[in-house]
Symmetry: C2
Subunit: 463 residues, 2 copies
């Protein structure tokens, strides 16, 4: 039996126990957005700490202003073994509401068989991100159990604020730059291309969150007594939002597209096998026709084009029936997805300037800023990526695709800007995992073959 075969056999032997360990940590409702669950976040961090120590890591719990960060190192493989890798995951989860839509209690994880015969782990965090980071920890366990040690120098960083924008992480990275001096980051928080095709995500969009409120009269007015001359902030907000995009879907904020770079021909070519007709991309959500920039397919609009989406709007009377009010204010929340070449801070300033210049008389605007992150584009010809891709192909017996993702994982950009290292985004989630929604699940194949994939990737990255 080759070394790799013996490690994989160990991983197979461990999978039932690994599933129990995953369900242990899933039972802890580590919801970071709600202060009521802070003790649970702490419990989850403690659980991670003990697990890393059990795996032989020199681990500690680092308090922050928010939830603790768990950091562990096992550098015993030595500098000749190959790159020092930094694995990142997060132990916090989204709230479980609406609870009545769950078919099983969100924090009482269980293994269920779906109508189509797929075996799935059900519960909040199954996929995002407890199930995913546990594939890496269980791969480390298999190496340790079968080979007695890890094949590479490995550091593991598990945070508890990913679902709230990770405010503690960037200062933590700055403060621990030397200690975190790895050669390559690994993140398991992305999807496979489909149930049978593994993927490395090489491009992710950046993010910018904004909220604004328009204020006109000094109080709510009666639409009979003042309707006509009174500035109505709902009309103003509609006009402003309508002026953010033109008929062809182009965003009208001056300078918005400055510096936008297109992916290289090689990158574009690497996606050829992934292309789907627009109707197919949109059918699952009940749509048929791409609503973004004219001249791009639905996939291109998601993969490589920046967007400006309104995520929420409110103002005036929103209860049952009619109320003839002209409200004194109205508000909206927006998110921008950014592509390589766009600086979120420049876009924020341009957005605010643009709306401010459009303001009519008797109306003022107040802005609130949320998170920002730059788009991420990883080299597709690096040695590490080539080795990782082969390891995934060996496990899944089909070539691993390189794919872009329209969502944002800011930590990848932080690893690059603060630590100067690239990230390999390898995940085993599926599009139907219901992350952030009721009935979140993780396929048992994602968990089991995910562990095996990491066993192979660690071997493949060795010098």
């Amino acid at each position: 039996m080759t070394e790799i075969a013996s490690i994989l056999a160990q991983a197979d032997d461990n999978v039932a126990a690994g599933l129990n360990r995953l369900m242990q940590v899933m039972r802890i409702p580590s919801i970071s957005t709600d202060p009521a669950y802070a003790p649970d976040c702490h419990r989850a961090a403690q659980w991670c700490l003990e697990t890393l120590r059990e795996l032989g890591f020199d681990a500690r719990l680092c308090e922050t202003e928010g939830q603790p960060i768990v950091l562990g190192h096992d550098l015993s493989a030595g500098s000749d073994s190959g790159p020092h890798v930094l694995f990142y995951g997060h132990y916090d989860v989204q709230p479980a509401e609406p609870l009545d839509l769950w078919t099983h209690p969100p924090f009482e994880p269980c293994v269920i068989e779906a109508p189509d015969g797929r075996v799935q782990i059900s519960g909040r965090g199954a996929s995002d991100d407890k199930g995913q980071f546990m594939t890496f920890l269980e791969a480390c366990r298999a190496w340790r159990d079968a080979a007695g040690s890890l094949p590479l120098r490995i550091s593991i960083l598990l945070e508890g604020e990913e679902e709230i924008g990770g405010p503690s992480m960037l200062p933590f990275l700055e403060a621990h730059k030397a200690e975190l001096g790895a050669d390559l980051a690994l993140i398991c928080d992305t999807e496979m291309w489909n149930r049978t095709t593994p993927a490395i995500t090489t491009m992710l969009r950046g993010y910018l969150g904004e909220e604004f409120t328009l204020i006109a009269a000094n109080r709510d007015l009666h639409s009979g007594a003042y309707g006509g001359p009174a500035r109505n902030p709902i009309h103003v907000i509609s006009d402003l939002l309508a002026k953010l995009r033109d008929e062809s879907g182009c965003i009208l904020i001056p300078g918005f597209y400055d510096g936008v770079t297109e992916p290289s021909p090689a990158t574009l070519a690497s996606w050829d096998a992934l292309r789907q007709p627009d109707a197919e991309v949109l059918a699952a959500v009940g749509l048929s026709c791409p609503a973004g920039e004219v001249g791009f397919t639905a996939q291109e609009q998601i993969w490589i084009r920046p967007t400006c989406e309104v995520n929420g709007i409110w103002g005036g009377y929103t209860g049952v029936g009619a109320k003839t009010v002209i409200p004194s204010q109205a508000s909206a929340k927006l998110s921008f997805r950014l592509v390589p070449g766009q600086d979120p801070h420049v876009i924020r300033a341009a957005f605010r300037d643009y709306l401010t210049t459009l303001m009519p008389e008797d109306c003022r605007i107040e802005f609130t800023g949320y998170d920002t992150s730059r788009a991420i584009e990883m080299p597709i010809d690096s040695d590490a990526l080539t080795r990782c891709r082969q390891a995934l192909e060996d496990e899944w017996e089909t070539p691993a695709v390189l794919m872009p993702d329209g969502t944002s994982i800011p930590i990848g950009g932080d690893f690059k800007s603060v630590l100067g290292i690239d990230t390999l985004f390898v995940g085993f989630a599926l599009a139907d995992d219901n992350i952030h929604s009721p009935n979140e699940k993780y396929d048992l194949t994602s968990f089991h073959k995910g562990i095996r994939s990491w066993v192979r990737i660690l071997a493949a990255l060795r010098a």
Copy 2:
């Protein structure tokens, strides 16, 4: 002592007892919009019934599908006395919320002295409409107490659904057309021009309430995963609302202005003394510049121009912080104020057609209709108006103005269309009465001189 002097003296003698009677009915929380207060609405109707009977009216309580209507007749003055008048008021009130903003409990009425020395009756319904309709009932009482009988044939109609759009009233009018065959309606639910100048309201705008919901995807989407190609109903609603009005404030619904008539030169001239600079009209609410149709003053925009105002908008995530959702739907509530010549049903159809033709792909629209009423324009040279105006001048010792009002009192239109009679709108409310708001009040001068005004008007209308 002349007859009128003795009736007025009786009214003066009765005013303290009348105030107690008003406070009795104000203690009943007859909130029509909340089913929990249905028994209180019934109690208020019963109180009105007993009061009319005490005044010698042949009165009864008419059950409807909603709150009861109280109807009473005293036709003993005979047909030679002059016009048979139909007085209308409403005993229902608005909810009192937000309760914490009241300086005195809303349903424990009391008499207070304002900082500027004005004596005021405080409580929900003080002005709208219990205090107002009681001025008429107390005028009838003074006539009865001093002269032994009423000077005219009088019918009194008090309803309990005015604040919810009066759904029972129109069918009631249709069903009791013969019984309600008066010559002239009197409504006490409007304002004076200012604290010292009485007014007859001769023009009121009509009303049309609409709500619509836009629906795109079959569920809420992640703005990273679908941002770009997914149709965002908040963008669509913004575009639609932006297309309702052009830069000059004109409403763009095809046919919206068809048939709109301007007031006659005589009517326009009758308002000359009322005209105020735009800045003065808007300063009280913290605004400075009319936002309606270019070419009209702020007052003209309120008095004689139709409007389309959004009263509420909502969609997506409206809680604290950011959520990167593309919602599946978004909604808005609108109200139109209409002027003479506009049919609310034609406008409704035109509005719905217009939005429907503007709908982009992958989006559908659903409409909900609320109340409608036509604008009201009363002749300004009728005999009844001239007599009434003189009576008001006699009481207030200053000419009564004829004024337009931007709000809507649908029952006036119903009296015209069903019963074929005109209405004299005479009210003693003031702009600072806080109707529909916390700390509603009615000045004691409004109540006392309001009673005296009706004493004189009833005398003046005699043949």
